[in-house]
C-alpha cells in the first residue's frame, strides 16, 4: 500500500487505512430502496463528435447492435445506456453559441452559455440571456459543469475533490491544460494534468518507512498546515474593500486552498502498474511529449481507474484535448494524417472530420462508406472508454462481489453530434456503470424530425444532465431532490430523459 504524496504530509505515513468515508454519503432514499447511487462520476470527453450512422445503436430500446465506432462497448452492454439524438439546446439561445468549438464544448456539461452572453447582473438565468449580441471570445460558461456539482454533493470525507487527467494529442511542453468541457465555477476551467509522471506523483508517489524521513515529514506537515491556515485567512483579510466580483474571485481561490487542506488527510491506495518515468511535481514532460494518445492512455487510464478504485475522489475526468491533428497511435489514422499533412494543400484530422476530399486521392472522407481511417479514429475514443470500464471492472470493491465499476457512473460525451457540420444538435452520450434505476442495456433515441443533423429534436442535453442528478439522487440542503441543472428557468431543459423504469 502506498500513500499519496500530498496526503502523507499530514497523515500517519505508511499505514494502510480503512476508508471510513465510503458510507458517509450514501444515506439517501435510493439506498433505502435497495438501489445505491454511484459513489463517483467519471466524465470522459473528446472533441469533434462522431459519424452518427456508425455510432448510433441499430434499434431503439433493447436488442440493439452497436455499430463500428461503439462496438468496443459490447462487453459492457448490461451496464450501458446509450443516448442518441439530443440537442445541446442552450446553444440555440444565442447565435454565438451555435457557432464553433468553444461555446459548444463549454455548454455540454454546464448546461449554460458563456458568461458574456448574459446581461444584467449576469446571473445564470434565461431572462439574462442576450439573444443575438456578440459574445466575448474570452469564453467561460456561466456556471460549473455537472460532475463538479455532483462531486460536491457526494464527496464526503474523500481526500481529493477530483482526479483530472488530460490526454494531449499534440506534442508541446505543457503539463496542465485547461479543460474545454469541465468547469469548477463560472469561467474557471478545470486544470487537466497531462504529464503522467506528475499525475502519478500527485496521487501515488510512495513514502518511506525510514524513521528519520518520517520525522522530517511530520515537521513538513506541521509547517504546511500552518502556512495553509494563514494563506486561507489572508484571503478573507484581503478581500475587504474590494468590489464584489473581485471578492468572488478571491473566495473561489480560497476554496481551492481549502481543497488542499482537505487533500492532506489520510488515505491508502494501490499504485497503478506502468512506467511513469520519474515522478515529481516538477517532472519534465519528456519522454511523454512524443507519445501517441494511445500510449498516453495506457498510462492515464490505469492511473484514473486505480485512483477511483481506492476512492480517492468522487469525480474523475479524462479529456482528449486536441481536435486539430492529434497523434492517435492508430496506424491507419496516423498514416492518413501524415499523407494529409504533407500534401501540397495540407490538412489534418479536423479536415478529415469535416469530410474534406483527401488531398491524396481526392475522395471525400465522409462518403458512403466513410473512409476507414476516419472510422478508426472515432473508434479509438470508444476503445479507450472500454479500457477504462474494463479497468474499473477489474478492481474489486467491498466484500459483496461488486467492482469499482458497479459503484461508478461513467459519462462520455463530445461537443458535436455529427462532426462534419459542427452541429450542436443530435448529440450522443454514452453512460455506463451504476445507473441506479435508469435503464441499462438500453438505447434511448431522442429522434427528431428527420435524419438531417442540423434539425432539432424533442430532447436535449440539459435533460441528460438532469438525468445524472437523478441517478445520483442529489438533494438540496433541505433534503429535496435537485431536479434541474445549468441555465435557470430554461423551460425546455426541465425534466429527465424517460429512461427510468
Amino acid at each position: 500500500m502506498k500513500l499519496a504524496r500530498r496526503r502523507f504530509l499530514t497523515g500517519a505515513a505508511g499505514a494502510a487505512l480503512a476508508l471510513p468515508w465510503l458510507e458517509a454519503f450514501t444515506n439517501n432514499k435510493a439506498h433505502a430502496q435497495g438501489m445505491t447511487p454511484p459513489r463517483r462520476i467519471i466524465v470522459v470527453a473528446y472533441p469533434m463528435g462522431f459519424i452518427r450512422t456508425h455510432w448510433q445503436p441499430t434499434v431503439d430500446g433493447v436488442g440493439f447492435t452497436l455499430p463500428f465506432i461503439t462496438a468496443p462497448l459490447e462487453p459492457f452492454r448490461n451496464q450501458l445506456l446509450m443516448v442518441s439524438n439530443v440537442d445541446n439546446a442552450v446553444c440555440n439561445l444565442n447565435s454565438q453559441h451555435a457557432f464553433g468549438h468553444p461555446a459548444k464544448k463549454e455548454s455540454v456539461l454546464t448546461g449554460t452559455l458563456m458568461r458574456a452572453a448574459f446581461s444584467g447582473d449576469q446571473s445564470n438565468t434565461l431572462a439574462n440571456v442576450i439573444a443575438d449580441a456578440a459574445g466575448s471570445e474570452m469564453g467561460g460558461p456561466n456556471g460549473p459543469s455537472i460532475e463538479h456539482f455532483i462531486g460536491a454533493a457526494i464527496r464526503g470525507a474523500r481526500p481529493f475533490a477530483s482526479v483530472d487527467l488530460g490526454v494531449s494529442g499534440e506534442n508541446y511542453d505543457i503539463n496542465v491544460m485547461r479543460s474545454d468541457f469541465c468547469f469548477e465555477a463560472a469561467t474557471t476551467p478545470v486544470g487537466l494534468q497531462c504529464n503522467p509522471a506528475r499525475a502519478f506523483d500527485q496521487f501515488f508517489a510512495g513514502v518511506t518507512t525510514d524513521a528519520a524521513q518520517l520525522a522530517l515529514q511530520r515537521r513538513a506537515r506541521q509547517r504546511k498546515k500552518s502556512v495553509l491556515d494563514l494563506v486561507r485567512s489572508s484571503y478573507q483579510d484581503l478581500k475587504v474593500g474590494l468590489n464584489g466580483q473581485d471578492q468572488r474571485r478571491l473566495d473561489e481561490h480560497a476554496q481551492r486552498v481549502r481543497q488542499i487542506e482537505i487533500d492532506v488527510q489520510n488515505a491508502a491506495c494501490a499504485r497503478p502498474a506502468g512506467n511513469y518515468g520519474t515522478p515529481g511535481p516538477n517532472a519534465p514532460y519528456t519522454p511523454f511529449r512524443m507519445m501517441s494518445m494511445r500510449e498516453r492512455c495506457q498510462l492515464m487510464i490505469p492511473l484514473l481507474a486505480n485512483a477511483m478504485g481506492c476512492d480517492l475522489a468522487p469525480v474523475g475526468r479524462l479529456e482528449f484535448l486536441d481536435q486539430q491533428s492529434p497523434f492517435f497511435g492508430v496506424p491507419s489514422v496516423d498514416t492518413a494524417r501524415a499523407a494529409w499533412s504533407s500534401a501540397p494543400t495540407p490538412s489534418d484530422w479536423h479536415g478529415m472530420v469535416h469530410g474534406d476530399p483527401s488531398p491524396v486521392d481526392g475522395i471525400p472522407t465522409r462518403g458512403t462508406p466513410p473512409a476507414q481511417y476516419l472510422l478508426d479514429g472515432y473508434r479509438f475514443f470508444y476503445d479507450q472508454l472500454a479500457a477504462l470500464l474494463g479497468a474499473l471492472r477489474a478492481i474489486p470493491e467491498g466484500n459483496d462481489g461488486r467492482t469499482a465499476l458497479d459503484n461508478t457512473l461513467v459519462v462520455m460525451c463530445s461537443d458535436y453530434g455529427n462532426g462534419n457540420g459542427h452541429s450542436s444538435n443530435k448529440l450522443g452520450f454514452t453512460i455506463a456503470g451504476n445507473l441506479n434505476g435508469a435503464r441499462s442495456n438500453f438505447h434511448f433515441n431522442g429522434k427528431g424530425t428527420n435524419e438531417d443533423f442540423y434539425t432539432r429534436t424533442a430532447y436535449n442535453s440539459s435533460q441528460v444532465l438532469n438525468t445524472l442528478l437523478r441517478i445520483f439522487d442529489v438533494r438540496d440542503g433541505g433534503g429535496a431532490p435537485v431536479t434541474s441543472f445549468g441555465l435557470q428557468n430554461f423551460t425546455a431543459g426541465q425534466g429527465t430523459l424517460p429512461v427510468f423504469s
Partner: protein, 565 residues
C-alpha cells in the same frame, strides 16, 4: 497555455451568411459601441463623458511572478528559486482568441492550479531551507556565519516587515504583521529557526497579496483614486512586468508619487529600465498572438522547437529595433523593411547567413514590410488544415484594425460551397465562392482581401509569387463601414504599407495598450477617453512615449470606479 486550434477553427468558420454590421452605437470616431469589439475610434470629439469601468483584480502571470522573485531576493537566490517553482504551469495564460496573460479574466484558479501553486511554494521553501546556513545571512544582514537560532529569532521581525513590504508592494497591515510573526513563533516551539523561517517564505510565495494585485483605492463610492502604492504597482507592472523598485516604493510611501509630475518622471526613468523592452515585446507578442507559435506540435518537421523559439525572438528583436523608448514608432513596427533575422530562419527568408545563431542581424528586405510580414506572425496565423487567407484576414481585421466581425452563423456546412473550386491553383480562386455566393459574401468580402494580400507569404512565411504554378494576385479592395475608409491596393506590399500607416491600426494599438495596462477591455462607456489617448500616438506615429504618457495622465489609469453597493 492555450491551444491554437479553437481560435483557428472559429476563424475558419467566419463569414457565411449575413454582413458585417456594427453593433448599435458603433459609429464614427468617438461614438459609442456595443458588444465585445470596439470599432473605429480614430479621434474626434464626443459629448458623452467617459464612465470608468470596474477594476478587475489581476494575478501575476509567469514573467511577473518570476521577475518578482528575482526582485525580492538578492544575488542569484531568486533565480535559483525560480527554477524550483511550478507556478508557470498554473499562471494566467493568454485568452482563447485575444487578450493578454495579465488580463483579469485570465487569472482564475482551478484546483490543479492551486496544487501547483502550493507545490511550487513548498519546494522553493525546501530549497531555501537546504541552504539556509548560507542564505539566511543574505536575508538578515545581522546574521554572521555560524549564527544561532536565537539570532534568527531576533532578526525575523524586521525581515517580515521589509520583505513583506516589497512582496506586497505596500507596508504590511498590523494584522498581517501579527499573523506572519505568529506563524514563525508558533512553529518555533517545535521547529528550528531555519525551518520556521522557510515556512514564512512558503507563505509569502503563495500569499494572496503577493500573487494578486488588489486595488482598493482611496474612497468608498464612485470614481476613486488609487492609493500611491497601487499606483506604483500599476506603473511598475505596466512598464517592466515587475514590482515597484525601491525608488518607486519610497515615493509611494511618502505619497509623492500621486503628483502627476513625479509620476511622469518615474515613468521616464522606468522607460530606461532593462525590463521595459521585454515588456513591450510581450505586449506585441500577445496582442498579435505570435505566442501561438508555442503551441505548435514538436513533431512538425518544419517547425522544431529551436526554430519556433527563434521566430519568437525575431519578433521581439524586431520590436526592440522598431518600437522602443529610444527609437522608432508603431508605424515603423508595421512598415519597416529592416527585419531582425536569426540563423534558424535563414531558409524561411530565402537567404542564408543573414543572422547569427542566437543573435540578430538587421537586414533590409524588399519582400517584407513590418511585423505582419515576419515569418513568426505569418506562421502563427497559418494553421495546417485551414484556409490561411481567411484565418489571417479575420485576425487582421478584428485584432490589428479593431474592426468588428459579424455575428457568426452556426450549424452550417462550410465545405459544400467550396466543392467546385477545390482543384484550382490559388487560394483566391479556391475561395472565390465565399465572395460570390450570397450567403457567404456578406462577411468574406470584408475578410478575404486582407488575407489574399498576405498570400505572397506561404504557411511557413516564405515569400512567393506563385502557387501551384499560377501567379498569385495580392491586389485588393476593401471597405471599412465604420471609419468610412476604402482601401485599394495593387499588391501585398501596398497593403502592408497602407495598413501600417493607417489610423485604424494606431487606434487599435491604443485600445490594446489600454487593455494591456488595465487588464480588461476598453468598455463602450470609456470610448470618450480614446481621442485623448490617440492624439499623441497620431502625432508621433506611435512612439512608446505617446502610448504611455497620455495613459498615465488619464483618470482611467490613476483611478477606478467603485461598484455600487
Amino acid at each position: 497555455m492555450m491551444r491554437p486550434t479553437l481560435l483557428f477553427t472559429a476563424l475558419l468558420l467566419v463569414g457565411c451568411e449575413g454582413s458585417i454590421v456594427g453593433p448599435p452605437g458603433l459609429g464614427p470616431p468617438g461614438a459609442g459601441n456595443g458588444g465585445g469589439g470596439i470599432g473605429g475610434g480614430t479621434g474626434g470629439g464626443t459629448t458623452q463623458p467617459a464612465e470608468l469601468g470596474l477594476v478587475g483584480i489581476r494575478r501575476l502571470n509567469r514573467v511577473q511572478y518570476e521577475n518578482a522573485l528575482r526582485a525580492l531576493f538578492p544575488g542569484t537566490i531568486g533565480t535559483t528559486l525560480v527554477a524550483q517553482t511550478s507556478y508557470p504551469s498554473a499562471s494566467p495564460k493568454t485568452g482563447l482568441a485575444s487578450g493578454f496573460s495579465s488580463d483579469s479574466d485570465n487569472g482564475t484558479v482551478s484546483t490543479q492550479d492551486e496544487i501547483l501553486l502550493e507545490d511550487g511554494s513548498e519546494f522553493m521553501a525546501a530549497a531555501f531551507m537546504t541552504n539556509a546556513s548560507s542564505l539566511l545571512p543574505q536575508l538578515c544582514p545581522s546574521l554572521a556565519p555560524g549564527f544561532t537560532d536565537a539570532q534568527v529569532d531576533a532578526c525575523v521581525g524586521g525581515f517580515i516587515d521589509d520583505f513583506g513590504r516589497r512582496a506586497f508592494r505596500r507596508p504590511l497591515t498590523a494584522t498581517e504583521r501579527t499573523n506572519i510573526n505568529a506563524l514563525y513563533t508558533t512553529l518555533r516551539v517545535e521547529q528550528s529557526a531555519a525551518e520556521s523561517f522557510s515556512a514564512v517564505l512558503q507563505y509569502f510565495f503563495q500569499a494572496p497579496a503577493f500573487i494578486y494585485r488588489p486595488e482598493k483605492g482611496t474612497g468608498t463610492t464612485g470614481v476613486v483614486a488609487l492609493t500611491s502604492h497601487e499606483l506604483a504597482t500599476r506603473l511598475a507592472f505596466l512598464l517592466t512586468d515587475a514590482p515597484p523598485d525601491a525608488t518607486l516604493l519610497a515615493l509611494a510611501d511618502d505619497g509623492t508619487l500621486s503628483d502627476p509630475a513625479v509620476l511622469h518622471a518615474q515613468a521616464e526613468r522606468l522607460l530606461g529600465a532593462t525590463l521595459t523592452q521585454a515588456t513591450l515585446g510581450r505586449f506585441v507578442r500577445e496582442w498579435l498572438r505570435v505566442d501561438l507559435l508555442e503551441s505548435i506540435d514538436d513533431m512538425d518537421p518544419n517547425l522544431p522547437a529551436a526554430r519556433r523559439d527563434a521566430l519568437l525572438a525575431e519578433v521581439e528583436a524586431l520590436t526592440r529595433n522598431s518600437w522602443s523608448p529610444t527609437r522608432g514608432s508603431m508605424v515603423e513596427l508595421f512598415t519597416t523593411q529592416q527585419m531582425a533575422l536569426e540563423a534558424q530562419t535563414d531558409d524561411l527568408y530565402g537567404a542564408p547567413n543573414q543572422g547569427g545563431a542566437g543573435s540578430f542581424n538587421l537586414v533590409t528586405r524588399t519582400d517584407r514590410r513590418g511585423i505582419l510580414s515576419s515569418a513568426g506572425f505569418l506562421i502563427a496565423h497559418a494553421p495546417a488544415g485551414h484556409q490561411t487567407p481567411i484565418i489571417r484576414g479575420a485576425f487582421v481585421r478584428k485584432e490589428v484594425l479593431c474592426q468588428p466581425l459579424a455575428t457568426l452563423p452556426g450549424n452550417i456546412d462550410i465545405n459544400a460551397p467550396l466543392n467546385d473550386t477545390r482543384g484550382l491553383p490559388t487560394a483566391r480562386e479556391r475561395l472565390s465562392p465565399t465572395t460570390t455566393r450570397g450567403e457567404c459574401s456578406g462577411c468574406h468580402r470584408d475578410i478575404n482581401p486582407l488575407g489574399f494580400a498576405l498570400e505572397r507569404y506561404d504557411a511557413l512565411g516564405r515569400f512567393r509569387t506563385t502557387e501551384n504554378g499560377a501567379t498569385i494576385d495580392t491586389s485588393g479592395s476593401i471597405n471599412f463601414p465604420i471609419t468610412g475608409e476604402q482601401w485599394d491596393f495593387t499588391d501585398g506590399d501596398a497593403f502592408l504599407a497602407t495598413a501600417g500607416a493607417s489610423a485604424m491600426t494606431s487606434s487599435c494599438a491604443t485600445q490594446r495598450y489600454f487593455r494591456f495596462a488595465l487588464g480588461r477591455q476598453l468598455l463602450p462607456s470609456e470610448l470618450p477617453y480614446l481621442p485623448a489617448l490617440n492624439a499623441r500616438v497620431n502625432e508621433t506615429g506611435g512612439s512608446v512615449q505617446s502610448f504611455v504618457f497620455p495613459l498615465l495622465e488619464s483618470e482611467a489609469f490613476t483611478s477606478f470606479r467603485r461598484e455600487e453597493p
